[in-house]
């Protein structure tokens, strides 16, 4: 049942929030041990919240657009009184004294938070294998990764544990796991959703967004969490456009460009089955009345290189505060400096250390211009190229991930191969543009393929319209 239907049923009194919750808790109990989507399941707290929703319905009140809908939240969003770990040992035991803005908005909309989901430590990774608390597995094939870094949130939706979840996307961390798990995942325009309370990875790239099984549900959740927040200076002040009301408007007359560089022979490693599904998706959009053609956005191929300088640089600074002084882990040592070092050395995993060092290097005296400065200029190049492309097209199209879900352990030995899985998703983060992954059939291995719809800043309405068309035209997905 979709989140929209569940909320309607609860608001109308046709179903109790408690019964909806229990059904989902049962699903979690059945499969969570093999999937490990959650760092913590909040069954007791969720029951209290569900009962409160039911009480309000009984009292004739409207608990909100997500009344009684179970949701999962990536464990890098702060929850007052509930541990927030970022799947890192360094935050083990930390209990935030405040709620992230998105968490407040979920509660205000009547949603019932059932747990905090697993992620690559501090959202650094593309497989959720970099979690200090163990990997999450792909519900469609537990020998495969769910993607990452929001693998827990993607898996929770794919496994039917929750109809909706929130992830965060810095270089593809919502869209790539959505593609690999066969669900819808949206990275909104930078600034559309407040980052207040999202533990920062790379501040100029991070954005929170929804996972859902349907495009309509993704729109519903996005509409709940988006909108201006005075606690985030990078929050867009304008009122966000309505999405629900435009979902069925189709793509008649739209101009859509397939990004040549990310879809064909320019980049190595875009799998044949993925390219085939992309072609079928383009045909479906054309059949629905859009003009679709291949177009060049040349600088997108440089996104990966720029990203792996900019994101680590910001991260190296954002992650300095984990020093054992105010919260979280401390490993004692005779001086404060030694204590910081001991704490950070024990508390951070290898991927986090790698990126902190990479970013520190890129900002350090003598290297700033060669790495950070240059990458910022490449960012300008990408922004400019997109601007040119959006002068001709309403939307752009590409694969979300170069391949379907890969095996657990397949890419952990070589960081660079892991990084390459984000090649198609990174450009939107650098430009601050929205993009989303929509499931579109399966690959040769029977695992889901995602198609990425890209839009210019604030272009969510057109993006969702195209996503709805693709969803309707999609071949059967993977059987779970």
């Amino acid at each position: 049942m979709s989140a929209r239907h569940l909320a309607e049923a609860v608001r109308s009194g046709a179903r109790s929030a408690r019964s909806v919750l229990d059904e989902h808790l049962d699903a979690i109990a059945a499969r969570e041990p093999e999937i490990h989507a959650f760092n913590v399941v909040l069954a007791d707290e969720a029951r209290v919240a569900a009962d409160e929703v039911d009480r309000r319905v009984a009292a004739g009140e409207d608990p909100g657009p997500l009344a009684g809908v179970p949701v999962a939240v990536k464990d890098n969003m702060c929850t007052r009184g509930i541990p927030t770990t970022c799947s890192s040992r360094i935050l083990e035991g930390w209990i935030p004294p405040y709620d992230a803005t998105v968490v407040e908005r979920l509660a205000a909309a009547g949603a019932v938070m059932v747990g905090k989901t697993n992620l690559d430590e501090f959202a650094m990774g593309s497989s959720t294998e970099n979690s200090a608390f163990g990997a999450t597995r792909n519900p469609l094939d537990t020998t495969k990764v769910p993607g990452g870094s929001s693998g827990g949130s993607a898996a929770a939706v794919a496994a039917g544990f929750v109809p909706l979840s929130l992830g965060s996307d810095t270089g593809g961390s919502i869209r790539q796991p959505a593609a690999l798990c066969g669900v819808v995942g949206v990275k909104p325009t930078y600034g559309a959703v407040s980052r207040y309370g999202l533990v920062a990875f790379a501040s100029s790239l991070d954005q929170i967004g929804p996972f859902a099984r349907t495009v309509s549900d993704a729109a519903l959740l996005l509409e709940v969490v988006n909108g201006h927040d005075p606690l985030d200076s990078t929050s867009i002040p304008e009122t966000p456009a309505d999405l629900t009301s435009v979902l069925d408007r189709g793509v008649e007359g739209m101009r859509i460009g397939i990004i040549e560089e990310l879809s064909g022979d320019v980049l190595e490693g875009i799998a044949g089955d993925v390219r085939a599904r992309l072609g079928e998706a383009a045909a479906a959009l054309e059949a629905a009345g859009a003009t679709v053609e291949t177009t060049s956005v040349p600088s997108t191929v440089y996104g990966l290189s720029a990203y792996y300088v900019i994101a680590p640089a910001e991260a190296s600074s954002n992650l300095a505060r984990y020093d054992g002084v105010r919260f979280g882990l401390r490993v004692d040592a005779p001086t404060s400096g030694d204590m910081h070092t001991a704490t950070r050395t024990v508390g951070f995993g290898d991927e986090v250390k790698r990126r902190i060092m990479l970013g520190t290097y890129a900002l350090s005296a003598g290297y700033y211009d060669a790495y950070y400065g240059k990458s910022q200029k490449v960012r300008t190049l990408i922004v400019d190229d997109f601007a040119r492309a959006y002068g001709r097209y309403d939307l752009l199209l590409s694969p979300t991930s170069p391949t379907t879900a890969f095996d657990l352990g397949e890419k952990t030995a070589d960081p660079m191969t892991m990084y390459l899985t984000d090649v198609c998703t990174i450009p939107s983060n650098l430009a601050g543009h929205p993009s989303m992954s929509v499931p579109f059939g399966v690959g040769d291995d029977g695992m889901p393929v995602g198609v990425q719809v890209l839009a210019p800043a604030m272009g969510e309405p057109a993006m969702f319209r195209a996503a709805a068309v693709l969803e309707a035209a999609a071949p059967p997905g993977a059987a779970s």
Partner: protein
Amino acid sequence: MTERITRQDVAHVADLAQLSLTDDELDAFTIQLADILDHAADLDALDLADLQPTAHPLPLVNVFRADVVGPTSDRDEVLAAAPAVEDAQFKVPPVLGEGP
């Protein structure tokens, strides 16, 4: 190809980032970081001379808040999260040297 990053560079960077690495880790990280920086060398082919850097995707300016007191934290709650506390302050091992 010239060495993108040396073992010494990595040791220096680890020191700046307050991380301590074993010899084996130092070897492995040097190879991995060099690999990543090698990949980033594709940017060397670009002519970027006329481009301004983009620090941020949003075009906003002058985002201010009013100078009005908001809620303060509950001190006990905050201190309860700290690894060590004394006299309502955060207790740390002695600090060597002086801040900038």
